[in-house]
C-alpha cells in the first residue's frame, strides 16, 4: 500500500508572538512572529526527521493565514490539506508568550477563541484524504477547542482508522480549555480507536483518576482499550532555565517497558513545544522502524531535549543532529566540544 503521507495531523495553527529574550509582554516594542500549535509541532518534527507529513487545519483567507501557510511549508510540512475561511470573522488564533527566569515563571496569554479552526468540518475535505496517510495524529487540545472541532476530530479518527491508518493521540491536557472531567469523558470515547497513546503520569492520575505506580498505570490503558503503545514523559523543572527530561514507553504487543537515562540539566532556551517534539521523535521512530521501541524512545527524548534549546514552538533538528545528540548522550567520558 503506497500512501502519499506517513503522517497527517489535525490541529489548530496559532500565531505566536513573543518579546525578545527576557523582555515582558506588558512593555516593549517588538514581538517575534512565529507559528506553532501542538499538532503542527508534531508533524513539523517528523518531517524534519525525514518522513512525509501534512497538517489538516483551517486558516483565515488573509495575509496572516498566508504567513502561517508559508511557515508551514518552510518546515517541510505539506499544505495540501489546509482549507481557508474567507468569512467576515475569519481569524487565526494568537498566543503571547514570555520567557521566565527563577523565581518568575513563563507567562502566556491565549487569544484563541472564535478562530477559523472552529469551523472545520469533515465536509471541507475530499474523500481521498483518509486513504492518503499511514498514520493520523491529533491531541486533546483539538477536542477541547469547541464542539465542532471535537466532532470533526472524532469523525476523522474513525475515518482514518477505517482507511487503515494508525491512530496517534496525545492527551495534552490544558486546564484553561476544559475540565479534567470533560477531558476524561471525551477521551474515553475515542480511546477505542487509538493505537499510540501519549499521556503523562500526572495527567493519568488527575484526569483519568488512575492509581498505582507509573508503569502499572501505563499498562492499565492497554488493558481497557486496544492501544498498542503508551508513551509517558517525565519532566523535572528545576527552574525556568533548567529542566531534566526523560520518558517511558510501554509496548503492549510485547508487554515490555523501554527507558533510558534522562537528559539532566538541559539548558532551556524555550520550553514550549518540547512535549510535541517528543511525540514527533517517537512517531518518527515507530513509523520508520515499527518494531524498535527503544530507538523510538531515544529519538523522542533527544528531539525533546534539543527542542528546549531553541526559540519558538517548532523543532529544527534533522536526523543527523538527533543521532549526534543520542550518541553523545550514551557516551561516557570526555567528548568533542564541537566538530571543527
Amino acid at each position: 500500500m503506497n500512501k502519499s503521507f506517513d503522517l497527517l495531523a489535525l490541529g489548530e495553527v496559532l500565531l505566536r508572538l513573543s518579546p525578545p529574550s527576557n523582555e515582558r509582554l506588558v512593555r516593549g516594542e517588538t514581538l517575534q512572529k512565529q507559528v506553532g500549535g501542538a499538532e503542527l509541532n508534531v508533524v513539523s518534527g517528523v518531517s524534519l526527521l525525514g518522513l512525509r507529513t501534512g497538517i489538516i487545519s483551517k486558516l483565515p483567507a488573509n495575509d496572516i493565514g498566508t504567513y502561517a501557510k508559508n511557515r508551514i511549508r518552510f518546515c517541510g510540512v505539506s499544505d495540501d490539506y489546509l482549507v481557508y475561511d474567507d468569512s467576515h470573522d475569519a481569524r487565526l488564533g494568537v498566543y503571547y508568550y514570555e520567557n521566565g527566569a527563577y523565581p518568575r515563571k513563563p507567562g502566556i496569554v491565549y487569544d484563541r477563541m472564535y478562530t477559523s479552526i472552529n469551523k472545520i468540518a469533515v465536509s471541507d475535505f475530499e474523500e481521498e484524504l483518509f486513504a492518503s496517510t499511514r498514520c493520523f495524529h491529533t491531541s486533546g487540545i483539538t477536542l477541547a477547542l469547541s464542539s465542532q472541532c471535537r466532532k470533526t476530530a472524532v469523525e476523522m479518527m474513525k475515518r482514518f482508522k477505517e482507511a487503515g491508518a494508525l491512530i496517534s493521540f496525545d492527551v495534552n491536557f490544558r486546564g484553561n480549555l476544559w475540565t479534567g472531567n470533560e477531558a476524561r469523558e471525551c477521551i474515553e470515547e475515542i480511546l477505542p480507536y487509538v493505537d499510540i497513546f501519549f499521556c503523562s503520569e500526572d495527567t493519568a492520575r488527575l484526569t483519568f483518576l488512575k492509581e498505582g505506580n507509573a508503569k502499572s498505570i501505563m499498562k492499565s490503558f492497554t488493558e481497557t482499550y486496544p492501544i498498542s503503545i503508551v508513551a509517558s514523559t517525565q519532566r523535572i523543572v528545576h527552574s525556568p532555565k533548567v529542566h531534566t527530561f526523560g520518558s517511558v514507553i510501554y509496548d503492549a504487543r510485547k508487554d515490555t517497558f523501554y527507558e533510558e537515562e534522562p537528559y539532566r540539566n538541559i539548558e532551556v532556551v524555550d520550553r514550549i513545544g518540547s512535549g510535541d517534539a517528543y511525540v514527533s521523535g517517537v512517531l518518527y521512530g515507530l513509523l520508520s522502524k515499527p518494531d524498535d521501541c527503544q530507538r523510538a524512545l531515544e529519538i523522542g527524548n533527544a528531539t525533546s531535549a534539543v527542542k528546549n534549546t531553541i526559540p519558538g514552538d517548532l523543532p529544527s533538528s534533522d536526523l543527523r543532529e538527533i543521532e549526534t545528540v543520542i550518541k553523545a548522550h550514551k557516551t561516557v567520558g570526555p567528548q568533542l566540544e564541537m566538530e571543527r
Copy 2:
C-alpha cells in the same frame, strides 16, 4: 464649573502589529508592537498639546490589556475610565498593518471581532463620569462595532450632553464595519446631540447622499441639525509616500468658512492616525480658544501633516512643535534647516 477633564473619548483600543519598514505581513519574523484606535489617537493628541484627557474603554484583564493601559498612560491620557473584562473570552482587538510604496498600496488585516470593548455598558461606570469633562468625543467606528457599543455610545452622548459637555463626533466611515446606509441611519439619529462634526466631503456625498459643492454640503448639516462646527479634511494621495493635506472648517455660529494653504507633498512615513490627529488639533484649538476657528484649523492641519511623518497610530507633537510647523508653513522664502 471646574471639570477634571477637558476631553473624554469613548472608543476601542487596538493592538497594532506592523512589520518593520517595508517588510510584508506574509513574511518576516518581527512585528512592531504599538497601540492605536481612532478615539485614543484623538485624546492622545489633545493631551500632548496640553489639555487633560481620558479614554473610556474596556480592556481584557490580562498582560495585553495591561500593556495597552501602560501605553495609554505613556501618552499622558488618563486611565481612570478604563474598565476591565476578566471573562474567559476577554480579548483586545488586533490589527496588522504594512506600509505601501507605489504601486503597492498599504495593507491592513483586522482581527477586531469578539473583543472586550463590545461588552462595554454605561453601567460599567460611576455616575460622576458624565460631569467630569468639558467635551466628549466618539466616532462612527464605535457605533459600527456592535449593537452593544452603539447603545452605550448613544446613551453616553446623551448623558454627557445633559451634563453640559460639548459633543464631538467624527464620522470616520469604515466600509468593512458597516454599509453606507447603516451608517447614515445611525448617525442621523445622533446628530441632534452633536456640537462639533467631522465629516469628509467624500463621506458626505457617498454616505449622506449630499450634493452640491463641498462648502454648501458642510453648511447643510448645520441647517438640519444644531451643529456648531463642521470640519472637513481634504487629502490627495499622490502615492503611498507622498500626500497633500488640507481642510475647511465651517462655524455655523458665525456662518463663516476657515481655510489655509494645504501642506503639499508631505513625506509620509505612516499615514495611519493622521485623520485622528487632525481631529485632535481642531478639538485642542476649540477647547483652548473656543472662538478662534482659524487657529483650530491651523493646529489641526499641522498636527495631521506632522503625524504622517512618524511611525504608529499615535501623534507625538507637543504645542511647541506644532507652532514651529505652523510658523514655517506660513513663512515664504528660505528657512532654517534645523535649530542648532
Copy 3:
C-alpha cells in the same frame, strides 16, 4: 498530458546578505539573510501567482544549504529537484548588496565562484525529470557560471524540448561573468531550442549587435530562430529610489506587438529581482492563458513594478494583489487609498 509541474527552472541559488536600510557593507554589525538567484526568483513568482513550480539546482549539504532549501519551500517552490553536494569544498554562493541613494548607486559584491552549482550534471537527476513539466526556464547567468553549468543547461534544454516542454530563456547579461562576445556565441547556439525569449533592447544592441528600432530588433530574433514570443523590458532609472518600468511583447505567431503605459515613478525599496519578477509574471500569463499576450504583459509589468517595493530578491505578490495593482494602474482619477 498531465505534468506534475507547470514550470521548472535551472539556476544557482545564492545567499544574499544585505545591511539594513541604508547602512553600508564596509561598516555595520548586522546583515539581513535572504536567498535569491535569477531563476529561483522566476519560479518563486510563478508559484505565488498560482502555478506549480520547482527549482533544479545543487546545494551544499550543510546548514547553509538547508537554510536555502527551507526558504525555497517557504516560497511554495518544490525542492524535489534539489541535489546536494557533500564534498569537502561544497559551498553556496554569497552576494552582498547595499541600497543606493542618489548620487550613490547601489553596491554589490559577488562571492559566487567555486560553488556547488558548478558541479551540477544531467546525471544527477532521474530521467523522469524531463517529462515532469510544461515549461523549462533558465537564463544566461547559468550559461556563464562555468563550462560545466553551460553543458548541463544546454543538455537540459534539449532534453526538456524533446519531452515536449516549452523552453523559456532570459539573456540576463552580466558583464562580470562573461564578455558580450562569449555570451552571443553561446546563446546563438541555444536559440534554436527557445520558445519564449526575454532580451532587453540594450542587450540586443550591445551583445547581439542588433541595429534598428526596438520593435524591429525584437522581430528579427523570431525571423532567424523558431522563437514564438520575445519580451523586452524598458526601465528608466531616475534615481536609485525612483524608477519607471514598462515592456513590449512580440508574438511571432500573430505578428503582433503588445504594450501598455509604463509604471511611472515607482517608489523603489529594492530593485534586485524586479527583472526576474517580470519574467515570472509573463510566464505565468503565458502558461495560464497561452493566447493572451496582453494579459501576460500586464501581469509581467505589475509583478515587476510591485517587486521593486519590497526588500529582497524574491517577489511576494499573489494573483489577487497583482490584479488589484493592474486595476488601479488602468483606472483614471481618484482611487481608494487603501481598503478598510
Copy 4:
C-alpha cells in the same frame, strides 16, 4: 485625612543606556534606552503594586526630559511634581550599563554630574506638596549628589514630617558619590526624622562603624533614633548571573524581627534596581497593612527577587504576580511549570 498620594519620592531620574544582551560598551552600535534612578524605581514598584505615587524631580526642558516624563507615566507614577529646567545647560544624567558574566563583573559608567536635578529647590514647588502624601521617601544618593540636593532633601524631609507624612530613607551608599564619613555625618543628621530605615549590614558596619551581630546592629539604630522600622537586605552574589536574596526587618514598636527563607539561585537577567524593588515591596506592605511586617518582608523579598529576572532598572510586577511568586516560594514539592 484623605491624601492624594500614598507615596512621594525625591530623587534623580537618569537615562540608562545599555548594549543588548552581553555586548560591551566599548563596541557595538545599539543601545537600549530606558530610565531609572533609585527613588523612581521605588515609586514605580509601589505604583505597580497598587498604591498612588509620584516622583519629585527636576528634568531638562528638552526631548530627553520629555522622554523621561513619558516613561514615568508609563509606570503609573504621577508627573505632577516634576519641574523643568529650561536653562542653557539643562541636562538629564546618563548612565551606561553592561551586563557581566563570570569572571567578568557588570560594568557601569556614570555621566551624572552637572545635571538639572542639582538645581532643585523647595521653592520650585507649591506649599500643598507637603500635605499631599502619606509617606515620603528618599535615599542617600539624593543627599550625595550635591549640597543643593542635600539641602532640598533635608528641608523636604522636615516639611513632609511636619505635615504628618511617614519618612522613609534608604542609605544606598555609593562610594563614587561620597565617602563613608561624609555619608555618616550627613545621615546621622537626618535620622531623627526617619520612620522607616533601609540599611544593609555591610553599610551599617563600614559607614556607621557599627559592631556586633546583624540583628543587634539593626536594633541599635532604633535605640539612638526614633526609627520604627529597620529593614536590611542580604544578597549573596554567586556569579553575575546567579544570586541569592533575603532580608530581615526589625519592628521597634513590637521589638520583633521578621525573616523568611531567602530566594536561592535567582536566575539574574539584570540586577540593577533590585534593591530599590525591595524597598518598594516593603513600603507597599507597610503602607497597605501597617501592622503586618511579615507580609511587608515577603512582598519585599519577592519583588526584589523577581526584579532580577527582567531587563532595566524598573520593576514590572503587579500584586497578582508577586502573590503568585510568594505562594510558590512557600510551597514545598512539585509545582505547576506554568498556568495553561
Copy 5:
C-alpha cells in the same frame, strides 16, 4: 620635509545617539550609537580618501572614551594625539539626533557642556606634535566651546603655522554655542593665520556683516587677510529628504573662481556631517594636488553629496567611489544602473 601626517585636526568628539529610521526621541527603546564631531568628520573623510590623518582631542578615561577611540581607529584616523581625562567629572559630550520628514524638521538635543575637551591644553602634548603634519584644521565650534578650548585652539594654530603647516578653518557657525558678534570678533583674530577658509554665504553676511554678491564677499576675505583659498557651500533644502548641493571656491593666488553644476535632488538619508564631508573632500584635493582647485571642488561636492546618503556623521567613501560619482555627475545621457 617628510611629515608623519597630512592632516591633523583639533576638535570635540561627541557620542551621537539616534533613534532608528523615523522614530522619535521622546519615545522608543533603541538608540543607534555612533561618534561624530565636525573636525573628526573632516579627518575621517580625508583618511578614507587616502591621506594620513589624526585627531587632537581629549576623551574621558572610561569605556565611553574607549569606544570613541575604537571608532576613530575604525575610520583610519590616528589616535596618537588623543589625551585622556581621568578626573572625577570626565565626560564625553552626547548629542541626540532624530531625522525629519516634511513638514517636520530634524531634531537635535545637545548635551555637550562640562565635557573633557574643555580641559584640553597645549601642555597636554609633546612639542613634536606641531612638526608632524602638513596641514592643521579646526572649526568655529572648537573656538565656541569654552575659553579654554579657544585658548588652546588659537595657540595651536600659531604653533602649527610656525612649524610650517597650512592652516585650514571652517567657520561652522552654531547659534546655540555663541552669538554672531562673539564669533566675528574671535574669528577675525585668527584669520591672519588661516590659509584655507571655509565660510558659507549666509554666515559671511550674518556673522561677518559682509555685503555684495557671493563671489565678491569671498574675495573680500582674501583682501583683508592672507588667505589663499576661500570655499563656500550652497545648499538648498527642498525638504528634509531632498537637498541640492553645490559650492564655489576662490583661489586668491590665481584670482580665480571654480564652480560646477550642483548635485540636484540628493536623496538625503542623513544630512549631519555633509558640510564636514565637503571640507574633507576639498582638503584632500588641495593636499594631494595643491594646484588643482577645480578637482578639489569636484571632490568636495561629490563627497558631501554622497555623505547625505548614508547614516551617521562620518563619511564612508573612498577615492574610487568618489571618482565614480564625479564621473556619473559629469555624464550626460543614460548611465549604468549599477555595476554587475
Copy 6:
C-alpha cells in the same frame, strides 16, 4: 633595537556570521557580522593589553575586504601589512557559527576555501617587514590552509627568526583542514625555529603521539627542539554554557612549571576565540616582562576566561580589566559585586 611592532602575526582573516542569541543557521533572517581568525584574535588581544601589533594577511580588494580592514583597525591592530587581492576570484573566507545549549553543541559551517589568503607570498611584502617586530606569531591553521600558505608561513618564520624576532607558534589543530599525520610532519619541520610553543595535552597525544603525563610531555618538546616556553591549556566543557579553564606553562630556561587555580564554571557567552585570547595574554606577558612566566600565565588564563563571556571571536579586555579579574580570582571571601 627599536622595532615598530611588538608582535606581528600571519593568518587568515575570516568574516564571521552568526544568528543572534540562540537562533539557528537553518532559519532566521538576521546575521551578526564580525571578523575573526586565530592569529587576528591573538594580535587584537595583545594590542588591547597595550603593545603595538599588526596582522599580515591578504584580503580581497572589495567592500568585504575593506570592512575587515576597518574592523582590524577598530581593534588597534595595524593594517600596514595587509595586502589586497584584486583578481577576479578574490574572496574573504566566511564562517557561520551558532551557539549551543546542552544537549545541543555549537554548530559551525566553514566556507574558507579558494580565499585570497591562499595567494599570499613573501614577495607581497617589502624586506623591511622582517626587521619591524620583536615577535612573530602564526598557527597550525595557516600551515594547513594550502601549500602556498604553508610555504609563505615557513619562509616568514625563518626570515623573522633571522631578523632577530622571537617565534611563537600555536598548534591549533583542526581536523577539518588536515590530518594529524600531515600536521605532525609539517610542524616538526618548523619546530626548530619556534621559541614559544602553544600545544594542548590532547593535541600532543593525538597529533604528536606523545605519551606520559602532561608535564613530561610539555618538557619533551623542549628536549627535542630549542623551544624556550611551552604553554598548554586545559578546558573542561561542563556544557556549552559552562566551562572551566586553566593552563600550565613550562619555562625550559629555568626548567620550571607555572600554574594557578583554574577559573571554574565560567558563564560562557561565546567560546570561539578563547584559546586565541589565552595566547594573546601569555604573549603580552612574555613580551612585556620576559622573565615573569607566572604573570604571563595569569594574564593568559584571565584573558581567556573573560573572552568566553563576550560575543564574537575578538577579545575586548584591556589591562585594567584583566588585572581586576586576576585580583578577584585570587581573592578569597566576599567581593564587591561591581564598582559604583
